[in-house]
C-alpha cells in the first residue's frame, strides 16, 4: 500500500486532555483517510484529491471532531463512516455529472472508479484504514517517548528501546546485542540495559494508550476497549 507520507506535526508533550487543533487533526488523520480511499480503488492522484477534499469539506468544513458524541464510540469509527459516505456522495455526484456533461467533475474519474486500482496485497479498505490509523498512533507515541527521554537525559534508555524493541519489531532490524549497547554507553551491567528497556516499554505503552484514549473519551476502560477493537481489526475481526 503506497501511503504517501503526510506532513508530520511535531509531537508536543501536551496533557492528554488537550484537543489537537483542527489543522493538526487534518494532518494526523491524512494517512488513514488516504489509505481507505486508495484501497477503495482510486488512483494515487484521485485518492490525494479526494483526501484533501474530504479534509476540507467534511473534517474541517463540518467540524467533524466536534460532532463526536462520546457515548457513540470512537472518533475512528465516525471518521471511517464519514469517509465512506463522502466517497458514495462523490460517486453519485460524478455519475450525475456524466449524465449532465456540463456538471462539475473536478475530482473523480468515473472510469477509474469502475475499473479500480487495487492494491496487490488485496486488503480491504477498512483494514487499510485501520493499519494507517494504528501506524500513525505508533509513530506519534514513539516520537513523544523519544522527545521525553531526550529532554530528561535518558538517551541511553531511548537508544536501547528503539534499537532492541521498536526497530526490531516494526522494521525487522537485527537488534544490537546487550554488549554493543553497554559498550556504546559505557555501562557495566546488562541489567541497566534491561531496566531501561522495561522503563521505555512502559512509557511507550502509557503514551500509546493515552493517544488512543484521546480518540474515545477520558476513561481508561474506553481506551482499553478501543485498543482491543484495533487489535481485532488487524486480526480480521469486525469492530
Amino acid at each position: 500500500m503506497d501511503v504517501p507520507a503526510a506532513p508530520m506535526t511535531t509531537p508536543e508533550d501536551r496533557p492528554r486532555t488537550a484537543p489537537p487543533s483542527s489543522d493538526e487533526a487534518s494532518v494526523r488523520e491524512w494517512g488513514a483517510i488516504y489509505a481507505y480511499i486508495r484501497q477503495a480503488g482510486r488512483s494515487p492522484e484521485e485518492a490525494r484529491d479526494l483526501t484533501q477534499g474530504f479534509i476540507a469539506d467534511v473534517l474541517l468544513g463540518r467540524d467533524l471532531r466536534s460532532r463526536l458524541d462520546e457515548r457513540r464510540g470512537a472518533f475512528r469509527t465516525l471518521l471511517l463512516s464519514s469517509v465512506r459516505n463522502y466517497l458514495a456522495d462523490r460517486y453519485r455526484h460524478d455519475h450525475a455529472a456524466r449524465r449532465h456533461p456540463g456538471g462539475d467533475r473536478r475530482h473523480v474519474g468515473g472510469d477509474a472508479i469502475e475499473s479500480g486500482i487495487v492494491d496487490p496485497a488485496g486488503v480491504d479498505p477498512e483494514r487499510a484504514f485501520a493499519r494507517a490509523w494504528i501506524s500513525r498512533l505508533v509513530h506519534e507515541a514513539a516520537e513523544a517517548v523519544r522527545a521525553e527521554a531526550l529532554a530528561t537525559g535518558r538517551e541511553m534508555a531511548w537508544d536501547a528501546f528503539e534499537s532492541r524493541v521498536l526497530r526490531a519489531m516494526l522494521e525487522g532490524a537485527e537488534p544490537p546485542s546487550y554488549e554493543t549497547i553497554m559498550r556504546r554507553w559505557g555501562l557495566d551491567s546488562p541489567g541497566d540495559v534491561a531496566n531501561a528497556i522495561v522503563s521505555m516499554r512502559r512509557a511507550f505503552a502509557r503514551r500509546f494508550a493515552a493517544l488512543v484514549g484521546d480518540t474515545v473519551d477520558a476513561s481508561p476502560a474506553s481506551a482499553r476497549a478501543e485498543l482491543r477493537a484495533l487489535l481485532g481489526l488487524l486480526e480480521g475481526r469486525a469492530s
Partner: protein, 148 residues
C-alpha cells in the same frame, strides 16, 4: 506479548508488527504487574514470551538462565514499582531454581540453607505464575532431598 512472532503463516504477515505492538501495549495496561517479567524473558530469548516459557523448559541453557537472573536481579534492585521489584526478586530466585533443577548448577553463592529458604519463599508467592511456582517447588524438593 513481547515482540515479533517467530512464525508468519499467512498472508496477514504484513500486519504482524502492528499486531504485536498492540498486543504488548494492551498486555502492559491490563496486567502491569507481570509485564516487566515477560519483557525480560523476551530480552533473554525472543522466542519466549514469559518467565514460565523461559524458566520451566529444561532445554533452556544455563547461560540464558544466568543472564536472566542478572536481569531479574536488576529489576529487583531498580524496578520502577514495588510490585516490579518483588517480581524481580522472585524471578531471580526462580532462575536459580531452574539452573539447579534442570542442570544441577548453582547460580549463586548462597549456602544450601539460604537457597532452600529462598526457594520456599518464591514457591509460596501466589503472585507468581503457577508453572513457575511448580518448578521452584520441584527444585526445593530436590535440594531438600540432597541436604538429607
Amino acid at each position: 506479548m513481547n515482540g515479533p512472532s517467530p512464525q508468519r503463516p499467512d498472508a496477514d504477515w504484513a500486519d504482524q508488527p502492528l499486531r504485536d505492538t498492540l498486543a504488548w501495549v494492551l498486555h502492559s495496561i491490563e496486567q502491569p504487574a507481570s509485564a516487566a517479567g515477560d519483557w525480560i524473558a523476551y530480552e533473554v530469548d525472543p522466542s519466549r514470551a514469559s518467565p514460565a516459557a523461559l524458566l520451566c523448559d529444561p532445554s533452556t541453557p544455563v547461560s540464558r538462565l544466568r543472564r536472566a537472573r542478572i536481569l531479574y536481579a536488576a529489576l529487583r534492585a531498580d524496578g520502577e514499582t514495588a510490585e516490579e521489584r518483588t517480581l524481580g526478586s522472585r524471578l531471580a530466585v526462580a532462575c536459580a531454581a531452574a539452573a539447579f533443577l534442570f542442570h544441577g548448577e548453582r547460580l549463586t553463592s548462597h549456602d544450601d540453607a539460604a537457597l532452600l529458604a529462598s526457594f520456599r519463599s518464591a514457591a509460596a508467592d501466589e503472585g507468581l505464575d503457577p508453572k513457575v511456582r511448580e518448578m521452584v517447588s520441584a527444585a526445593e524438593r530436590r535440594l531438600a532431598h540432597a541436604m538429607g
